[in-house]
Amino acid sequence: MPRDIMNEIRNEIAANKVLVYMKGTPTFPMCGFSAAIVEVLQEMGYPFKHVNILEDQEKREAIKAFSNWPTIPQVYVNGKFVGGCDIVRELHASGALDQLLKEAFAGADTTAAS
């Protein structure tokens, strides 16, 4: 069966409260912008999942089309596209990101590791 990449993306976004499409991994980010997002999320203490697009060229292109967003990293919270590095930083500074994450995890057990 051919790969339905858009459906794959839809499913993984729906399945994870916080999902980061990034270059590299949280332990070894391969780009300063991806590293900055990981740093913000780790500082806030909420678990998140990541997709390393460097290991999946097809997804690397598909995610840009999916969100109509030309760059990576990309952050999704509660199934919704939040933005890239600039927006995550800006929302973090204003406190809006904290609010968004708090709502996403309301009632959930946040002690589980990502």
Binding site: N68, P70, G83, G84, D86
Partner: protein, 81 residues
């Protein structure tokens, strides 16, 4: 790509916009932009950035590696000065 080329594309795509682009590293592919446009009124950050990306007509997928954006409406810009 030169900063003034990027400024030109953004101004063309978003009439009435004031924009300043700087080359962060001097390498012609990492840029920082402050964009002040009436087109941003009533729009969230994602939509604002998408408007700017659209004005760059595909340059984001090729010649520009990174473009750090700060977006304001004229009112927001005046208020934060």
């Amino acid at each position: 790509m030169r900063p003034d080329e990027i400024e030109g594309l953004i101004r063309e795509g978003l009439p009435g916009t004031t924009v300043r682009v700087s080359d962060e590293t001097g390498g012609g592919d990492h840029f920082q932009a402050v964009v002040v446009s009436p087109a941003f009124a009533g729009k969230g950050l994602v939509e604002r950035h998408q408007l700017v990306y659209a004005s760059l007509q595909g340059a984001m997928a090729g010649r520009i590696h990174a473009l750090s954006l700060r977006t304001y409406t004229p009112e927001e810009w005046t208020a934060q000065q």
